[in-house]
């Protein structure tokens, strides 16, 4: 197969990074990204993009750690380069704080982030209602910069971007040899995955340039993540809610919770409210599948269900998905010529 045609469906951080990995591992592939939404209207654009892993209950920890390590290493190199500002990648230091002792003193990612250590008593004085804390430095992928940078790199490789709503993966079998499904929450409808469920998150994006430190409450519900131009204040975790409309009461509640951790936020300006549905699953689905109708086969690689941890593991899962695409190509080349209608 001279030039396999690969369609990546989805243009969030997973779709774009997977497409980029495919162009890297398979330079002879012709890659196209198909999506009904592009930045700044993807779920990824709502997220703060902080590299703090989310735990997937059914994925082995070793694999999650590898995904996080790969992602951190990749972004660390960008952060150190002249491209850092264009890519929207920057370091940020801060604290994760707990009211009661954390389940794990040393999370699996503590040796991957920088300078991880318990907070001192003096540092904890800033948070009178919390008794324990962890200080560290991690990376942040600021959207939309990061997605736009991925798009730019993809276009440089000749990857085409198409605004298109794909109602059924099968509709792509004529134009493409392999389909990569990075549709996030869309996979619920697109491939009928009932194990995928939304966890609604509402956030505020505010102007508060004096906030340089991140603060995350260990329960994961309240957080303050300073980005390049705006600080993301969060949030909510509403399992099963599909609503994309901002809720005014929730806005007030998020603001109050964040101000209680960082009183200077009272002076924040220019509050923007956003909502995203975390495409949640007990384990991320990075998997090959072959769809068939009669004698026609369509290889599919799935890469979705990253829930709250998309940015943290995106590069690691993209690389795995790209390897699965390579396997699909080998399988296609191994088999006799594929009948095309």
């Amino acid at each position: 197969m001279a030039s396999p045609k690969v369609a990546v469906v989805g243009a969030g951080v997973i779709g774009l990074s997977t497409a980029l990995c495919i162009t890297e591992t398979c330079p002879s592939c012709s890659v196209a990204v198909l999506s009904d939404q592009f930045s700044p209207n993807t779920t990824s654009d709502v997220a703060a993009g902080m590299l703090i892993p989310h735990i997937y209950p059914d994925t082995p920890i070793r694999r999650q750690k590898q995904w996080f390590q790969e992602t951190f290493t990749y972004l660390f190199a960008i952060c150190n380069s002249a491209e850092a500002s264009e890519a929207g990648i920057h370091l940020v230091s801060g604290w994760q704080i707990f009211k009661s002792p954390p389940k794990e003193e040393l999370p699996f990612w503590s040796d991957i982030v920088l300078g991880f250590r318990p907070m001192s008593k003096a540092e904890l004085q800033k948070f009178p209602q919390h008794r324990f804390g962890q200080a560290f430095t991690t990376l942040k992928c600021d959207c939309p910069s990061y997605l736009l940078w991925l798009e730019k790199r993809l276009k440089a490789t000749g990857t085409q971007m198409h605004t298109r709503k794909v109602a059924d993966l099968w509709e792509l079998h004529r134009e493409y040899d392999i389909v990569v499904n990075c549709t996030g929450m869309g996979a619920h409808q697109l491939v009928g995955d009932k194990q995928l469920f939304p966890v609604r998150g509402q956030v505020l994006k505010v102007r508060a340039p004096w906030v340089t430190q991140f603060i995350r409450d260990g329960d994961g519900l309240t957080y303050i993540y300073p980005g390049i131009h705006r600080v993301t204040l969060g949030g909510t975790r509403e399992k099963g809610s599909w609503s994309l409309s901002p809720d005014a009461g929730t806005t007030r509640d998020i603001f109050d919770r964040c101000c209680s951790l960082e009183p200077s936020l009272q002076g924040a300006q220019d509050i923007e409210v956003r909502v995203g549905l975390r495409p949640s699953r007990q384990c991320v689905r990075v998997q090959r599948e072959v769809l068939s109708q009669g004698r026609i086969k369509l290889p599919v690689v799935h890469n979705y269900g990253h829930g709250a941890g998309g940015f943290s593991v995106h590069r690691g899962t993209a690389k795995e998905a790209a390897h699965l695409v390579e396997e699909c190509i080998s399988a296609l080349q191994g088999s006799s010529s594929r009948p095309k209608l």
Partner: protein, 348 residues
């Protein structure tokens, strides 16, 4: 009882506020006045980036380390107050980098979370073999000075826009005590060969992705002669110039290039940063701060001057400890003049 402060930088204004807070209620006849030829945003304090960080060593001057600590603790206590934003006060973390093992600084237990850098962190800074990470404070002069000014005005302190030519000039007008907070130009009021300019130049850029301060050190060339990057609330300051004895306040093209090249080498992404300003200022450098009383005989009058100048590149860092010390000196003077029963406030 007229007390005149000469100088409206961070030292003059904070000394005035400290005095006002401690003595106004005890001494209703107290009239505070501030005289200066430059006010915010045209003072040295306005040009400084505003990072709280003393020099690496206090050279055994424990007094100054205590004043630094007093200032840090005072500011930390204000961090959660509604005034913090208006004051230009916020927390910031960052890096100090070295090419050889440095001795521990005098301030390691004052700042928050002080620790050595891990090998992984040092990968961020090729060429540097050792370093520290800690969380400190920013106090931006461009916000802090107006905040101090407003509070002083609200409390009835009078401001005079004029260049004072001599202490005599004020005493002959009926001022009882003068606070000399004239920074770099104290020598115009009373010669002091120990006071020398430590000229600095900075470039202001827009680089909002930089969330940490980065101060590099070259132990052989001395403080601030090595690149530094300090992010503020409106722009990021690039610097690395300290020229002892240079009185020029003009921006130098050679210094610009040196700052730009060295900072871009430190943080390659800065090449894309937009330059929005440039400034040169004179750090009022002295082997130690002059903070003391001086009695001057004028005819048959004994005039009192409290000197509070020579804070070099750490004025914002040490200002509150010095203001409190200056206020204590005033307390002693007031007691001697039988204006007060005993000086108020904590004793050192």
């Amino acid at each position: 009882m007229r007390v005149a402060v000469i100088g409206a930088g961070v030292i003059g204004l904070s000394s005035a506020l400290c005095i006002q807070e401690q003595f106004q209620s005890l001494l209703p006849s107290l009239q505070l006045e501030v005289y200066a030829d430059h006010f915010t945003p045209h003072t040295t304090s306005d040009g400084a980036a505003g990072l709280w960080q003393p020099y690496l060593s206090d050279h055994g001057n424990l007094q100054e380390t205590l004043w630094n600590k007093e200032t840090f603790d005072h500011l930390l206590g204000q961090l959660h107050s509604p005034a913090a934003k208006e004051m230009g006060l916020f927390l910031i973390s960052g890096y100090n980098l070295f090419r050889e093992p440095p001795p521990d600084p005098s301030w390691k237990n004052i700042v928050l979370g002080f620790r050595n850098l891990t090998p992984k962190e040092l990968e961020l800074f090729p060429g540097y073999s050792h370093g520290w990470f800690n969380t400190a404070l920013m106090l931006e002069g461009r916000s802090y000075l107006p905040w101090l000014t407003n509070r002083l005005m609200q409390r009835g302190v009078k401001f005079f826009h004029k260049k004072v030519e001599s202490f005599q000039e004020l005493f002959s007008q009926g001022v009882d005590v003068v606070l000399n907070c004239s920074g770099m130009r104290s020598g115009d009021l009373q010669p002091d060969p120990e006071l020398q300019p430590g000229r600095g130049q900075i470039i202001r850029v827009l680089a909002p992705w930089v969330k940490h301060f980065i101060i590099t050190h070259n132990l052989k060339s001395g403080i601030y002669n090595s690149p530094y990057v300090i992010p503020g609330s409106e722009f990021t300051v690039l610097g690395g110039i300290y020229q002892h004895g240079n009185w020029s306040e003009e921006n130098s093209a050679k210094d610009h290039k040196s700052i730009w090249d060295s900072c871009c080498q430190l943080l390659p992404a800065l090449q894309k940063a937009k330059i929005v300003g440039e400034w040169s200022g004179l750090r009022p450098a002295r082997p130690s701060i002059r903070l003391e009383r001086e009695s001057i005989r004028l005819g048959n009058l004994q005039a009192e001057v409290i000197h509070n100048y020579g804070h070099g590149g750490f004025g914002l860092t040490i200002h509150w400890g010095c203001a409190m010390a200056a206020a204590r000196l005033l307390g002693t003077i007031l007691q001697e003049k039988k204006q007060l029963a005993t000086p108020p406030g904590p004793r050192l």
